[in-house]
Amino acid sequence: MPLTKQNWAAIKTVVFILCLTPFLSLLIDGVNDQLGANPIETLHFGFGDWALRFLCIDLALTPIKIITGQSWPIRFRRMLGLFAFFYASLHLLVFVVLDLSLSWAALVDEVPKSPYILAGLVTYLLLSPLAATSTKAMQKHLGRHWLTLHRLVYVAAITALIHYFWLVKKDYSQPLLYASVVTLLFVIRVINYYRKLTTLR
């Protein structure tokens, strides 16, 4: 039985609330003073982790479609992509407002000394136009350029991984895990691309 428009609206609402739970959970912990010894770090890393996770989930939708032949995952692409941007925005906001305390002097001192911060800022700059052009109207307006522009997400995934690798002190297990996931998702796309080419021939 095909799902109705109302069904999809309900499913999307549920997914939306699920995507919001990491934010709410950190917010509740914050209100209850449960963020540990270094609450700013907990918020900063928490939002950063979720930005990267949503980016990975978003990048997984097409590979899921390729493998399963189902097109429904694509329905969630815009929402999940925007959640990646939402968590990346919170991550940056915590850095600027809480970690740097909005101090220009601190920013000017810390950013040039930290290549990983630069990689993070580049990632955010790459994601911003994608979020800004995520509406249906913008999609129509940009036409075929829209797709070209949104390929920036692949670059953003790579700079996000560089950002993570560069900031880690010694234990690379986490960034390696995310790098493996992103690599796998890229490989599936590439294989699919070449398979399509050969079928067309």
Partner: protein
Amino acid sequence: MLIKSQTEIASHNVTDRKVFESRRQFIKAATALSASAILPNQAQAQAGKYANVTASPYSIAVAATDREDVTNYTNYYEFSTNKQDSTVLARALTTSPWSIEVSGETEKPGVYHLEDILKDNPVEERIYRFRCVEAWSMVVPWVGFPLGAMLKRFKPTSKAKFVQFTTLYNPDIMVGQRSHVLEWPYVEGLRMDEAMHPLTILATGMYGDALPNQNGAPLRLIVPWKYGFKSIKAIVKIEFTEAMPATAWNKSAPGEYGFYANVNPDVPHPRWSQSRERVLGSSLFTPKRATEKFNGYGEQVASLYSGMDLTQFF
């Protein structure tokens, strides 16, 4: 055995919960006040193992960080690279009995029981600022004794130019040692004059009580003007050497972690600034504190490095 295990503590020695909580409230209130107005030693009064230790004049007059934060935020890679997980995992470590092997350029090499060492070395309280290379800091009321006084008893020979410390190696208990995140066992070292400096201590306790396992029980080094990774935990071996010891973090990333590792806001880590530090326990909107050269102990220790280029010997 002189060292009492946790289970042997008589009930009259255990702090009443109400007293404990009111103390915490007091500390919280005290922290909120201007730090200069506080007598830190009074804030630490507690009915622990070292309840009545004398406060040392080497202490700084700054309110201590909440004990809860200090005991749940440790870099103890022998157990985990996660600062909270090490708290739980370190419970598996048995710290009594404990012995320390003394070797190298000394007239008195041998294996010494920790309790015998403690008999000869009366402890005192040292409230020090602890600055991690990761750009956070805390203020800890350590309980310990000067390292120099102890080292002198081992009669180092004239060839002894450095002291090397080694952490316990036991991957069955120290589960982090099963991964190769660092070269095990963890090794640290000091130049002889650094080791003999009166600020350098070996800690056996903190907050008036025994040292929790995750904070380096039963014996750890504390060198307050150096980054935290110099302050090696769970020491089982002390060796006097002629050559500069090859230390754990230095071996792992020589371009990032030097042998000296003196706190220095002017020498950034290759990947981040050391100009400021996040003070644990401060509010969400408190700006980071400006890091002081030698972690604020410059008056006492700067002369150890006169004539040295601290950018080169970082």
